[in-house]
């Protein structure tokens, strides 16, 4: 059976950056450039860094900007749920938002 631990609450937001460990080479370029020093190099060589201080992330995106593997999906900046903004397609009235599953769900039903 899974062990259950007594642990303190996480800080919120706690996942400003999402790595893909299969792509990330663990070069720690993001660790080098972060203005808030949010990351800590992984104790295991070649692995993505640990996000040690997620609450101090300023969401400037420089970690993504500097990542040599960003376009292969090694790193993404992820705004907290409260900041995932919405938009509306002018011609169809469809609603979308950051992080939604696909672009054709949620038809807007507003009267016009």
């Amino acid at each position: 059976m899974m062990e259950i631990y007594a642990v303190p609450n996480l800080t919120t937001p706690n996942k400003p950056v999402v790595f893909n460990a299969d792509v990330c080479s663990g070069c720690n370029r993001c660790v080098e450039v972060c203005v808030s020093d949010v990351f800590m190099p992984s104790p295991e060589k070649g692995k993505p860094p640990v996000i040690l201080y997620p609450d101090e992330c300023y969401y400037c995106g420089c970690c993504v900007m500097e990542c040599p593997l960003r376009d292969k999906g090694a790193i993404k900046l992820s705004w907290p749920l409260m900041q995932r903004v919405r938009w509306k397609r002018k011609a169809t009235g469809e609603h979308f938002r950051i992080g939604m599953r696909n672009s054709s769900s949620l038809k807007n039903k507003e009267s016009s």
């Binding site: 800080t11 919120t12 937001p13 400003p16 950056v17 999402v18 790595f19 893909n20 460990a21 299969d22 990330c24 080098e32 450039v33 972060c34 203005v35 808030s36 020093d37 800590m40 190099p41 992984s42 104790p43 692995k47 993505p48 860094p49 640990v50 996000i51 040690l52 201080y53 609450d55 101090e56 992330c57 300023y58 969401y59 400037c60 995106g61 420089c62 993504v64 900007m65 500097e66 993404k76 900046l77 705004w79 907290p80 900041q83 903004v85 919405r86 938009w87 509306k88 397609r89 002018k90 011609a91 979308f96 938002r97 950051i98 992080g99 939604m100 672009s103 507003e110 016009s112």
Partner: protein
Amino acid sequence: MKNEGGDMPELLKWQYPIRYGQEMEVDADVLVLGGGLAGCFAAISAARKGLKVALVDKGAVIHSGAAGSGIDHWGSCPANPASKVSPEQYTKNQIETFMGGYGNVIAQYIVARDSYDVLLELEKMGMKVRDTEDEFKGAEFRDDKSKLLFAYDYESNHCIRIWGTGMKPALYKECKRLGVHLYERTMVTSLLTENGKQGARVVGATGVNTRTGEFCIFKAKASVLCMATPERLWIFSTEWTGLVCRDGPPSNAGDGHAMAWRAGAELTMMEKSTHEEWGGSTGIGSALFGSGTTFATWYPCSLVDAKGKEIPWVDRNGDTLTSVSQRTHPAPTKKQDFFSLVLGGGEGGKSTSPHLIEDLAERIKRGEFALPLYADLPGMPEHERRVIFGLMVGQEGKTWIVYRNLIQAGFDPNKDMLQVYDLGPAPHGWRRLRYGGLVHDWDLKSTVEGLYAAGQQIFDGCGASYACCTGRWAGSHAAEYAMRIDTLATINREQVDKEKARVYAPIERSEGMDWKELESGIAKVMQDYCGDVKTEELMKIGLQSLEEIKEIEAPTICARNPHELMRSLEVLDILTCCEIIVHACLARRSSNNWLYFQRLDYPVNDPPEWRKWITLKLKDNKVRIGELPLDYQGPLKKNYEAHRK
């Protein structure tokens, strides 16, 4: 399933070597403290004179500072070839119309004169400043001869759109090329003075490495303080993003203000310091410029209501505008009166540039417009749409990632309208971003010998061109000063030891208060006793509360590693900044709309006897209040020429 990584293991060993107490000594001709735009330019201009330059930065120079992730406009640039205003006209408008006389004339004039040359220097360093690919050929805001793109005001052309995500990387490369010695991840903790005396010549600084905890002693013939306006003073929470900063990154904790104060340098305009919501506070709402607005980067985007009805724009006379183009031109009846800075201006934040109808919120409540509102990019003329979303959103600070994330999520500026998250854009007061800072002369020398300052470190400092131009100016004057000095001064060991004890105290305690609780407590005092409405009684209680915190809770602050030590030392600097602000607010016994300063007990706005700078400094550890005439700069052209190096 995708393997994310990045998670916190149950117990993680500190991955950097720990060197608490160990000392590293550095000698330099010129020491630059803070490596943002101002600091980089100060270092570059001193290094160009062949001097040994050390640059200390809390982050990594390539992306540190308020413009670390980019900047989309180069303001205060009336000396460019397509400008229709002179540096003198521009400065007069900025100081008189935009700030009612309460502006930094010396710095503003230096910027107005030098900013085009500085922009050309940045271009030489590799930053893109022109539409070389003719992406915007035929646009109203483009000067076809120079290929410069102008922003906001298409008639007077004093603000240039730039590809500023390349600015910090270009400056970083230039610093390296010129052999500037970089000390990164190093928090400067104090200025060292001759014989350790407050108010005496600055002869160096101390610092602590934020990863190893190593102690650093910097000795220099001249120093340039280039740190930022303090953030995190009124609102603090770690449950919102970025520690709820106003404008710059969380590391902008007022360290420079605090150490200059302790060293005895004089500050002014500190009573103008206003709380965080006014920067478009990044933590509480959506990501800055990451939702629909008409403000700054998004200017002059059309807004529509939920049913597609456009929100009208008016000019400063209240006349309704009928085209998008009119939003970027001065009102016809005031032809000669070009826009104030970017947007806004006028007493009490009243907009002098074209803006949305002022009673929008009322008209929404009456049912004339339906919520939510949207930024109608598809409805904008093509050049405007592409320059707002793609250049401005994309190059402005923190928007490179906004552009990338939105496009990756399927947002199409040709088809989609981004939601506006309130009853229309808030009345942002861009002027509010201009805080107090160090008093200086025409050399950008502080009131303390050997100490120069630039960027947000001087009073009223704001903006990228401001930071770069004042940095360049201060760096070259510091270099001239250093060249007149034969040998480095001896460091006072007692002063170093005292500072060392102060710096390491938080890691020597095994229990006490953590930095977050201390910071929240300080912010609450500022909200309760130094908020929008001020009285003598309130502020005296505030000052007493801060003094109590300094005596009772601050000496218990506790840190478990070098990173927490950095944050703890920042909070102590924040506490000092708050004290300076309350002292300054108590000293100005009159209300002043230009300074966003309301005193219930002195309600008369800007009476003539209070039209002056209130200055303050420490002497023998006692607060000394002084004053300076608003126009202490003297004749502009003459002084500029006499002090240009």
